[in-house]
């Protein structure tokens, strides 16, 4: 195992857990409707800045935990979050050199894709009732991105 040295494994575990808690925190209905996918934000961060720390396994497991948590069909969020992680990891060299604002645009696109995947699977499994508010969530997520990136960035030392 040559990859484990210097990789912020503990930081990944901790932040993914924290994101899960944020995702599951009971909120008033209006806030609930616009709560962005924190787990995707965290996963994008690690995908860009430490693509080998959690790999795709950690995002996938986080998504699966979210499925169990929310009572969705198993694999729904797991697939969506893994996809988000994969895209961030594939483009990480380019994204690393961009400013936070530029990255926000990318985050917006990926979060929309995530919403779209979840929405598609919900439709496929027969839960197609959905509020239009869900399409606001990626925008909120993109606006939060700089803060999330700065906060998560403090959990590990960047080279």
């Amino acid at each position: 195992m040559n990859m484990s040295r210097g990789e912020p494994r503990w930081a990944v575990t901790f932040t993914v857990l924290l994101a899960l808690i944020l995702q599951a925190l009971p909120l008033p209905t209006w806030l609930e409707a616009i709560r962005p996918s924190f787990i995707c934000l965290v996963v994008i961060y690690w995908g860009i800045f430490a693509p080998h720390a959690g790999g795709i396994f950690a995002p996938w497991l986080g998504g699966l935990a979210l499925d169990v948590f929310k009572g969705d069909v198993l694999g729904q969020n797991a697939l969506a979050v893994a996809l988000v992680a994969y895209i961030a990891m594939s483009l990480h060299q380019r994204l690393r050199n961009q400013t936070l604002i530029q990255q926000s645009l990318f985050v917006f696109a990926v979060l929309t894709l995530n919403e779209f995947v979840v929405w598609g699977i919900e439709g496929w499994t027969g839960h197609a009732v959905s509020s239009p508010w869900r399409w606001i969530q990626p925008m909120i997520g993109a606006m939060l991105w700089p803060f999330v990136a700065l906060l998560v960035g403090r959990t590990h030392s960047r080279i």
Binding site: P26, T29, F69, G75, A78, Y86
Partner: protein, 368 residues
């Protein structure tokens, strides 16, 4: 699109590429979804996973739990005194009702020719505490701190002191998820206590409303009527209060009336729920699948499972126009079978279809 691969190759030499790994996880996810939809062995896995996320769920809800605890600990003396007074009044009212009930039950038993009154249909109950409430238009669920380890089972009825709350949707070892009757995916067979009209109470996604579709215009349903479970779903025992009719819209151009009801249980604010176990074999116990299946050959005295009959007397149907759909009429013979077995004269005349006839029409049983 071509860029997707380029980043991965430069980091090569560390196992398979991101693309390949993602592909594996994607396939795994789809397989999971497929089997989770089908049910079966994944339910067991899910049971274990529920236990794994339970600490997290507790952690997430600890702030609100702590706040409630604080509020309760620092409640003023007056507030507590007021609560005690309310509870004392409630107790007195209910004692009065119980007094009457004992008399009614023995009268009922005499009428049926039984020597002793039947025991209560609810055999056992278990109190659970609500950990998390999820109330939105998409979902109306509760997370409760009782699970498989306490004997809770899937599709178990859950009630509060006021009425039916919902049923167990998913279980873990220490927790269970309850789908409320107001969830838009829930349907509950009900009947109007006063007139015996049967329908299905569909959840609307709003915590205060149930919808009763498929009730023809001329059926006897009024605002203020109490709805009780009809027991035809094989889940709930007969006669648990569900809701009260709030709105009846009769548009003469439509074949069906538009009827809405409000649930009696306060689905959003109750902190304690009751899991109930019905007494098997009791007349008011939920209908079993076998009992529901024997409709095709006319249910004569040679009924293989005399899913018996006279339920607690609902108020007798006042006028014949108010009776239940014609599909029920063959079932009206069923009470007679039970009574002939005990040798007593049948008190109910078979000519008039009684609303509380137990043999259900299978068409009314929804798939919840």
């Amino acid at each position: 699109v071509a860029v997707f691969g380029s980043g991965t190759r430069s980091l090569g030499g560390r196992g398979p590429s991101f693309g390949f790994r993602f592909f594996c996880y994607a396939v795994l996810s789809v397989v999971l979804m497929f089997y989770d939809r089908r049910g079966g062995w994944l339910d067991t896995a899910r049971y274990g996973m529920q236990a794994a996320v339970y600490p997290l769920q507790l952690a997430v809800n600890s702030p609100s739990a702590a706040w409630r605890w604080l509020q309760e600990s620092f409640a003023t003396r007056e507030a507590l005194q007021k609560e005690v007074d309310t509870l004392r009044n409630q107790l007195r009212d209910q004692q009065l009702m119980t007094l009457r009930q004992a008399a009614l039950e023995s009268e009922n038993a005499t009428l049926r020719g039984l020597t002793t009154a039947l025991p209560e249909v609810i055999e056992k109950r278990l109190i659970g505490e609500v950990i998390n409430v999820e109330v939105s238009t998409l979902r109306q669920r509760l997370l409760v701190n009782r699970g498989g380890n306490s004997g809770v089972y899937k599709a178990q009825p859950v009630v509060t002191g006021d009425g039916v709350l919902g049923q167990v949707y998913r279980i873990g070892p220490f927790s269970s998820e309850i789908i409320l009757i107001t969830d838009s995916e829930h349907a509950l067979p009900v009947q109007v206590l006063r007139s015996g009209v049967r329908s299905i109470a569909l959840g609307t996604g709003r915590a205060t409303a149930l919808e009763l579709p498929y009730v023809p215009q001329n059926y006897d349903v009024k605002v203020g009527d109490v709805l009780v479970t009809s027991g035809l779903d094989g889940v709930f025992p007969f006669g648990l209060p569900v809701g009260r009719i709030t709105k009846v819209d009769r548009d003469p151009t439509q074949p069906l009336a538009q009827i809405y009801a409000a649930p009696l249980a306060r689905v959003e604010s109750d902190r304690e729920v009751l899991f109930v176990w019905a007494r098997p074999g009791h007349p008011a116990a939920p209908a079993t699948p076998e009992a529901l299946a024997v409709e095709a050959p006319k249910p004569a005295p040679a009924n293989p499972k005399p899913k018996p009959a006279p339920r607690k007397p609902v108020e007798p149907a006042a006028d014949p126009a108010t009776t239940t759909p014609a599909t029920d009429s063959p079932a009206a013979a069923a009470p007679a079978t039970d009574d002939s077995a005990t040798g007593a004269p049948a008190p109910a005349e078979p000519a008039q279809p009684t609303p509380e006839a137990p043999q259900p029409a299978p068409a009314e049983v929804p798939t919840t």
